[in-house]
C-alpha cells in the first residue's frame, strides 16, 4: 500500500497520551490503558530477549554431539528457564497485555478498560513475579523443566523450585486480572451501536482468551501452591511413597497448561484476522464462523488436556476419548484457516509488512496444527513422545503462530501506538528473515524427532548422525535472532526519526483508526456511535458514485 505522504500540519501541537505528561511517575502511576500497554511492551520485550538468550545457548550446546559447552545441570536449567520465561513472562502476556490492552478499549469505543487501577495492578504483579523469577535465575535457577512434574519438583530437585513457583503464581494473578478486565470491558463498555456481531474479530479472540485466563489460571495457581506445600511440608498429596498420586498433578497442571496454548494463539488469530481483512480489502469471509470458532477453541481447549499424558499411565479408554477430543480442536482451527483463505480469494492483496507476517502465520500455524493431529493420534504420539517432533510442533504454534501474529500486529498498529511510520523496506526484510530463520530452526527438528532424538538431552554423542540437522537448526536460530532484533531496532529508530503517521495509514476499518495517531488520553474526542458493520472495506473503497447527479439521456 502506498503510504499517504501528505500529513496534516496541526498534529504537531496536539495533546496525545504520549505527550500529555512527562516524567517517570506519569508512567509508573498511570491508569491509562495505552500507557500500561507500553509498560507491558517494554517488560515483555526484556523477558523475550532473556528467554531468547537461553534458547541460543541451548542451540549452541547442540551444535556438536558431545556435551561440551555447558554441563548437564546447566543445560537442564537453561531449557527450564527458557520455557518458564517464554511461557509465563512473554507468550501469555504478549498480545493481550500489549496490543490487547492498547486496542480493546479503542476498538469498542471506550475511554479506558473497566478497571484502570486493576489494570495497573496487573502490571505491578507481573513485574513482582518477573523480579522474583530474575532473582531465582540469578541465584541458581530451576532444573525441573517448565512443566515441573512431581515427584521430581516436590521431592528431589535441589534447585529453587519454590521461588520460581511463587514467581509464576504471582504472574498468574496478573494474567487473571487482565482477562477479568477484558471480559467486563467487552460486556459493559461498548459504544452505542456496537453490537456483538459488529465487534472486530480481534475482540472476539480476546474475549475467548480471557475466558481461558479466568478459568484456567486459578487451577495452575492452586497446583503450584500444592506442589510448593508438598515440597516444604511433605504432605504426601503428590508423593507416591505416601499414597499420593503424581498423575493427579499432571491432570491439574495440563488442565491449565494445555488451554494456555490457546491463550497464546487465539489473540494472534485475532490480529491476523484484522490484517488479512485490511490488506485484501474485503469483509472477512464467514464473520460469525470465525467469531464462534474462537469460543469453540476456548471450550474444546479445556477438554483435551490428557493428550499430554498418553504415555504417563492413564487408561486406554480415557486416552481414546482425549485423542478424539483433541482431533475436535482441528475443526474450529480449520474453520479459521479456510475462512482466512476465502477472504484472500479475489481480494486486492497488498504485501505490506503486517501482511507478510500474516502470511507467515498462515503457513506456520497450518504446519503446527497439522502436526498437532499427528500427536493426537495415539500410535504416533507414543512413537514421538518426548522427542524433538513435539518440540518442533509446539514451537510452530507458539513461535511460528503466536510470535508471528504478535510481530504482525506490532507493525500494523505501530503507527497508531507511536504516531510514527516504521521503515517499510526494513520491515519486509525482517519479516522475510524471521520466516526463513524460523523454518531453518524448527523444521529440522521435526525430522530429528521422527528419527528419535529425545528432547532435553544435552549430549547426543551416541548418535552423531543427528549432527547435520542440529547444525541447520542452530544456524537457523541465529538468523531468527537477527530477525527479532531488527524490528526492535527500527521501531526504536522510528520513534525519533520516523515520519509522522497519518491517523489511518492503511485506510483500515475499525474504530481505533477513526481517532488520531497517537490517540488522545481518552481515545476519542467525542463518544463514537457505530452505524456500520465490521470490516466494511467494500464501502470504504467504493468510488463516491452516490454524489453524482443522474442525468437524463
Amino acid at each position: 500500500m502506498g503510504m499517504p505522504t501528505v500529513v496534516p500540519q496541526q498534529r504537531f501541537e496536539r495533546e496525545t497520551y504520549l505527550n500529555k505528561e512527562y516524567g517517570i511517575w506519569s508512567w509508573l502511576l498511570t491508569t491509562d490503558h495505552k500507557r500500561i500497554a507500553l509498560l507491558y511492551l517494554v517488560s515483555i520485550t526484556f523477558f523475550f530477549f532473556i528467554g531468547g538468550f537461553f534458547a541460543l545457548l541451548i542451540r549452541l550446546e547442540l551444535l556438536t554431539p558431545a556435551g561440551d559447552l555447558v554441563q548437564a545441570d546447566t543445560y537442564n536449567k537453561l531449557f527450564t528457564q527458557h520455557g518458564m520465561v517464554m511461557v509465563f513472562f512473554f507468550l501469555i502476556p504478549s498480545i493481550p497485555a500489549t496490543l490487547g490492552n492498547f486496542l480493546v478499549p479503542m476498538m469498542i469505543g471506550a475511554k479506558d478498560l473497566a478497571f484502570p487501577r486493576i489494570n495497573l495492578l496487573s502490571w505491578y504483579l507481573y513485574i513482582i513475579g518477573g523480579a522474583i523469577m530474575l532473582h531465582c535465575m540469578m541465584t541458581g535457577g530451576v532444573d525441573t523443566g517448565w512443566t515441573f512434574y512431581v515427584p521430581f519438583s516436590s521431592n528431589y530437585t535441589n534447585t529453587k523450585f519454590v521461588e520460581a513457583g511463587i514467581a509464576i503464581f504471582i504472574a498468574g494473578f496478573s494474567s487473571i486480572l487482565t482477562g477479568l478486565n477484558f471480559v467486563v470491558t467487552i460486556h459493559r463498555m461498548r459504544a452505542p451501536g456496537l453490537t456483538w456481531s459488529r465487534l472486530p474479530l480481534f475482540i472476539w479472540a480476546h474475549y475467548a482468551t480471557s475466558i481461558i485466563q479466568l478459568l484456567g489460571t486459578p487451577v495452575v495457581a492452586i497446583t503450584i501452591l500444592l506442589v510448593a506445600a508438598e515440597r516444604v511440608l511433605h504432605l504426601g498429596i503428590f508423593d507416591p511413597r505416601l499414597g499420593g498420586d503424581p498423575l493427579l498433578f499432571q491432570h491439574l497442571f495440563w488442565f491449565y497448561s494445555h488451554p494456555a496454548v490457546y491463550i497464546m494463539i487465539l489473540p494472534s488469530m485475532g490480529v491476523v484476522t484484522e490484517i488479512i481483512a485490511c490488506f485484501s480489502r474485503k469483509r472477512i469471509f464467514g464473520y460469525h464462523f470465525v467469531a464462534f470458532s474462537s469460543i469453540a477453541i476456548a471450550v474444546f481447549g479445556f477438554l483435551v488436556w490428557a493428550h499430554h499424558m498418553f504415555v504417563a499411565g492413564i487408561s486406554v479408554y480415557s486416552a481414546l476419548v482425549f485423542s478424539f477430543l483433541s482431533y475436535a480442536v482441528a475443526l474450529p482451527s480449520a474453520i479459521k484457516v479456510f475462512n482466512w483463505t476465502a477472504t484472500l480469494y479475489k481480494g486486492s492483496i497488498q504485501y505490506d509488512a503486517p501482511m507478510l507476517y500474516a502470511f507467515g502465520f498462515l503457513g506456520l500455524f497450518t504446519i503446527g496444527g497439522l502436526t498437532g493431529l499427528f500427536l493426537s493420534a495415539l500410535g504416533i504420539n507414543v512413537h514421538v513422545t518426548d522427542t524433538y517432533f513435539v518440540v518442533a510442533h509446539f514451537h510452530y504454534i507458539m513461535v511460528g503462530g503466536a510470535v508471528m501474529g504478535y510481530l504482525g500486529g506490532m507493525h500494523f498498529w505501530w503507527p497508531k501506538i507511536s504516531g510514527k511510520l516504521y521503515p517499510e523496506g526494513w520491515a519486509r526484510l525482517a519479516a522475510l528473515i524471521v520466516f526463513i530463520g524460523f523454518n531453518l530452526t524448527f523444521f529440522p527438528q521435526f525430522v530429528l524427532g521422527y528419527m528419535g532424538m529425545p528432547r532435553r538431552y544435552y549430549d547426543y554423542s551416541h548418535m552423531p548422525e543427528f549432527q547435520v540437522l542440529n547444525v541447520l537448526s542452530t544456524a537457523g536460530s541465529t538468523v531468527l535472532g537477527v530477525g527479532y532484533l531488527l524490528p526492535m531496532v527500527y521501531f526504536l529508530w522510528s520513534m525519533r526519526y520516523g515520519k509522522p503517521a497519518p491517523d489511518n495509514p492503511w485506510n483500515a476499518a475499525g474504530l481505533e483508526w477513526k481517532t488520531e495517531s497517537p490517540p488522545p488520553t481518552f481515545n476519542f474526542d467525542e463518544e463514537p456511535v457505530v452505524t456500520w458493520e465490521a470490516y466494511n472495506y467494500e464501502e470504504l473503497d467504493a468510488p463516491p458514485q452516490t454524489q453524482e447527479v443522474p442525468v437524463a439521456r
Binding site: 471506550a110 475511554k111 479506558d112 478498560l113 473497566a114 478497571f115 484502570p116 487473571i176 477479568l180 471480559v183 467486563v184 470491558t185 460486556h187 459493559r188 463498555m189 479466568l214 478459568l215 484456567g216 489460571t217 486459578p218 487451577v219 495457581a221 492452586i222 497446583t223 501452591l225 500444592l226 506445600a229 511440608l233 511433605h234 504432605l235 504426601g236 498429596i237 505416601l242 499414597g243 499420593g244 498420586d245 493427579l248 491432570h251 491439574l252 481518552f522 467525542e526 463518544e527
Partner: protein
C-alpha cells in the same frame, strides 16, 4: 451530540463524586463493578476446584481412611462455625439493604457484627487447629495416626499415610478458606471506614454490594467444606 437534554443529563451525572471518568453513567459503572466481582468469583471457584478435585480423587481411593480421619475432627466446632457463618451472611444482607436505604447506623452496626462473626469463626478455627496440633494430626515429621479403627470395620485400622493425605487436604482447604476470610475482614474494615465517612448513598453503594457478594461466596465454600471434611462418616 445535538440533543441538549441528553448532554444536560450526562453533565448532571458527572457531578456525582463517585463516578469515575471513563464510565458514561453511574449505571454502567455499577454494572461493570458487579460483573467484575461475579467473574472474579468464577475464578475463585476454579481455584478451590483444584483442591476439591484432589479431595474427590483421594476420598474415592482411600474411602475408609478418610472416614476414620474425618471422625477425629470436632464436628461440634465445625457446626458452630457453620452457624456463625450463616448468621454473618444474614448481617451482610441487612447491611446491603441498610446501604440502599441510607440507614447509616444500621449499616455500621451490621458491618461490625459481620466482622465479629468473622473473627469468631477464625477463633474457633484456631482452636481446631490447636487441637489437631496437640493430637499430632498435622502432616509432617511428627504426624501420628496409629491404631485408629476404621468405622464400620471392626479390627481394621486406618492407614496413617492415607489419613495424612486427608489432613493435608483438610489444612490446605480450610487454610485457604481462612485466608479468604481474613481478606474479607480487610474488605469489611474498609467498608466500615467508608460507611463511617458517609460515602454510601442509595445512588452509590456498589462496594457494599460486591463486598457482600465476596463474603457470601466465602460462606458458600464453607458450606461445601463442612460436610466433606466433618460429616462424611457421622451416622
Amino acid at each position: 451530540m445535538p440533543d441538549s437534554t441528553v448532554i444536560g443529563l450526562q453533565h448532571e451525572e458527572e457531578q456525582h463524586p463517585e463516578l469515575l471518568h471513563h464510565f458514561v453513567d453511574a449505571e454502567q459503572q455499577r454494572n461493570a463493578a458487579s460483573l467484575g466481582m461475579w467473574v472474579f468469583l468464577a475464578t475463585e471457584i476454579m481455584f478451590f476446584g483444584g483442591m476439591f478435585c484432589a479431595y474427590l480423587v483421594y476420598r474415592h481411593w482411600y474411602f475408609a481412611d478418610f472416614g476414620a480421619a474425618s471422625k477425629s475432627i470436632d464436628a461440634t466446632l465445625g457446626a458452630t462455625n457453620t452457624a456463625v457463618l450463616i448468621c454473618s451472611s444474614l448481617t451482610v444482607v441487612v447491611a446491603v439493604w441498610a446501604a440502599q436505604t441510607s440507614r447509616k447506623t444500621l449499616l455500621v452496626v451490621m458491618l461490625v457484627l459481620t466482622m465479629l462473626f468473622g473473627l469468631t469463626f477464625l477463633g474457633i478455627k484456631g482452636k481446631e487447629y490447636k487441637d489437631k496440633f496437640d493430637e499430632h494430626h498435622v502432616p509432617g515429621a511428627s504426624f501420628s495416626f496409629n491404631n485408629v479403627p476404621v468405622p464400620g470395620h471392626p479390627g481394621e485400622f486406618a492407614n496413617p499415610r492415607h489419613a495424612q493425605i486427608f489432613f493435608s487436604l483438610y489444612f490446605m482447604m480450610t487454610g485457604v478458606h481462612a485466608l479468604h476470610m481474613i481478606i474479607g475482614l480487610g474488605i469489611f474494615a474498609w467498608l466500615l471506614h467508608a460507611a463511617w465517612k458517609d460515602r454510601f448513598t442509595p445512588e452509590y453503594h456498589t462496594p457494599v454490594e460486591i463486598g457482600g457478594l465476596y463474603w457470601h461466596f466465602v460462606d458458600i465454600i464453607w458450606i461445601y467444606l463442612f460436610p466433606l471434611l466433618y460429616l462424611i462418616d457421622r451416622h
